[in-house]
Amino acid sequence: MGQIEVPVVRNILQANERLAASNRRRFQEAGIYVINLMSSPGAGKTSLLEKTIDGLAGQLRMAVIEGDIQSSHDAERIRTKGVQAVQINTEGGCHLDANMIQIAVESLELENLDVLIIENVGNLVCPAEFDLGEHDKVMILSVTEGDDKPLKYPLMFQLSSVLVINKVDLLPYIHCDVQLIRERTRQLNGNQEIFEVSCTSGSGMDLWLEWLKKKVQGVKDQLSRQGEA
């Protein structure tokens, strides 16, 4: 029998990356701004979405894709607010991938939207590895998780354009050094925007909403420039 060695040189995630690129083109054409929202379970992704929906009501048209291991509870929380929500159940899978997003997007009328937020499965490791075609990765760290997380999950912090530090209303009751979080994450990603918020009290929400609106406008400006060219 012939022994052989063959060169391969292929990216293992190439299938996902191709689909992500195609999603990205689709979003670009429709002129919508897309966020991949990630955190550990319970850090406050759905809460931030609820606050964001309230804050943008009447200003921007929004839709949500909810990724969850099971149940459609989060999607129902969003629909209660009168916003379109598509549920993806990963049946045990710990992250969303570009293929799931491509399918979910079929049930949305992208042309009638300004912003789409994808709530990823609660997990600080795997979602970072899978591009969905989003414009920005936004991560939430709640102060109850501790200030050592940037050291433990460097990829997630390195790739996220925004870090939302949530549950700051609880700071008086726990040991968590927000300044230390800022220093540790700045080493990983010196361009990261950081917002300190409480989804419960609503504090800090104005700065986050302002940033979001600017990003949405950026995508629209780009689209109209292309239209003129």
Binding site: G2, R10, G93, N123, G190
Partner: protein, 149 residues
């Protein structure tokens, strides 16, 4: 053909998914889906090269990639049973994190997760390597073609 060497002489041979979960707290399913994509590539390439057996698969995995090599090997061992890659050894080469400064173009190895230029002290986002997750080559046996060789 039954496979008696799932995972080769991998240290986690005989382990269960539950064992794995307990030492890699952030769930195994992640490496499982990467192992699945890996297997697809390996099977496709082995068909292309008419291989009857894959013995070694060489990979490059960046030090920043969210992949635990041991869980990847374990998952691959499980799902490659009854394929030509059953029992194949994964040789994983770790690729250091290297970044390039956008101001002075200096390329440097990122140590201790400090992503800033040692010369200019500005944040650096341009990664040259470190997120790699690639199949580089495979070794094994090829089917005898009639008369040739």
């Amino acid at each position: 053909m039954p496979c008696f060497a799932a995972g080769g002489d991998h240290p986690r041979q005989g382990g269960s998914l539950n064992d794995l979960n307990s030492w890699h707290e952030d769930s195994i399913v992640h490496e499982l889906s990467i192992a699945q994509s890996l297997l697809e590539i390996v099977l496709e390439e082995s068909r292309k090269h008419r291989m009857t057996k894959v013995r070694v698969i060489r990979l490059q995995v960046g030090e920043l990639a969210a992949v635990v090599p041991d869980s990847l090997m374990f998952c691959f061992g499980m799902i490659s049973e009854n394929t030509v890659a059953c029992g194949a050894i994964l040789e994983i080469e770790a690729v250091p994190v290297v970044a390039r400064c956008s101001q002075c173009q200096l390329m440097f190895e990122v140590e201790n997760h400090v992503f800033s230029c040692p010369e200019c002290d500005v944040p650096v986002m341009d990664l040259v390597s470190g997120r790699d997750l690639s199949v580089m080559s495979m070794e094994g046996e090829r089917e005898e073609s009639d008369g040739a060789d």
